[in-house]
Symmetry: C2
Subunit: 263 residues, 2 copies
Amino acid sequence: MDHLRTATGAAVRAACRAGEFAGPTPGLAASFVQANLVVLPKDWAFDFLLFCQRNPKPCPLLDVTDPGDPEPKAIAPGADLRTDLPAYRVWRHGELVEEPADVTAHWRDDLVSFLIGCSFTFETALQNAGVPVRHIEEGRNVPMYRTSVRCQPAGRFAGPLVVSMRPLTPGHAVKATQICSRMPRAHGSPVHLGDPAGIGIADLDRPHYGDPATVRPGEVPVFWACGVTPQAALAEARPPFAITHKPGHMFLTDLRDHHLDGE
Amino acid sequence: MDHLRTATGAAVRAACRAGEFAGPTPGLAASFVQANLVVLPKDWAFDFLLFCQRNPKPCPLLDVTDPGDPEPKAIAPGADLRTDLPAYRVWRHGELVEEPADVTAHWRDDLVSFLIGCSFTFETALQNAGVPVRHIEEGRNVPMYRTSVRCQPAGRFAGPLVVSMRPLTPGHAVKATQICSRMPRAHGSPVHLGDPAGIGIADLDRPHYGDPATVRPGEVPVFWACGVTPQAALAEARPPFAITHKPGHMFLTDLRDHHLDGE
């Protein structure tokens, strides 16, 4: 699907909707913003919206739909969240029960969809600024860790802050901090750098999600709040029903990366 | 109450709670962040939280309480929102019915409180950077206008964007834009500058709220999203019950202005 690399966000969505694409989205629709998806019944939506408001670094909201409306009008008018992602996860009482390519059959009039910013946006900005991103160089998924830092709870939602890690030279760590500080809707500035034990990570070589990344001599591990955090909160809160994207299989928006550079 | 000018936010709250202060708060507890207050029943809270999420420039959230909890734990631990403001407004079905100094008698277990950033924060930053603020120089309230720009609606909430205006030289307008861009939780960058008709303002000399401000030759009017916007949305939505601060009579937080400078 090489043509999808230079396609628009709308073209990737159309390929998903037509059943022509069901794979991971890193590198697709270059320069278009990708988003994490969390879908919950209205009865749980206030608690989750409050969780995002209180934890903006792991959960920067790009759009929230009206109950029952599958169209994220602010970031992708005309899109259909039931069909336009390559793969979904369906959860019941905190357990993963299915990974379908379409959730039309699961849709309900009381579902509220949350679209949350994604690190792919700032990784593109880092690379454009000459800051190398190790896991991309190594052709692997980014390493992610559950930390000892607890999110601010909200109603029935609580859980650990999940972080992603990129090894950088000190100079690149400074540059990355400057760049990411301008992108609060793509997780913003790092939450930690240096000693992994400082945020309760025992072993960098054993990430809880994704793949390990090589830390070279003279580099420091730099940690960012991660969009997997809401999935950890969902697993703890165990709502009766939820839908998310399948990790790595994101929603392509109509926003361009530069739209997230600034307020 | 001159001693309150150099007091802490907590000291101003204590004076309000003790019934020793019931006046307007501009200039009080210098360097402490002040906040707008909106209190709504839980049944209306999701719609209003979504309204704030969709309209972050007029409604930058600093804190949202759990239902029934009068303590804004994130920005003023130990505070009591029922007693710690100098003056309140009580609304029924969109009509102002009372302006009490204490809302303890009105409190209910289902009330959710929203604390929203305030322009006082960026005005201090502007003055510190040598950018004069006309209405402060003239000892008047800032001029505010309902515009032809509609907010993004959310559930039962909709309404016009309300803006505040400060006349600046072109050079100061650029400087102010730089400074305010770093403060998204204090309304952020201007939403408009120049021709008032561009956002539907017919007459700068007749603001809808506050006082007119003199625009001198060579100055341009610069417009910021304003914290009165939620009150305009409340008046349109007419929820059965709501509490707000009395305009100009804000909640003093424990945050310092520099906490809002950055992400």
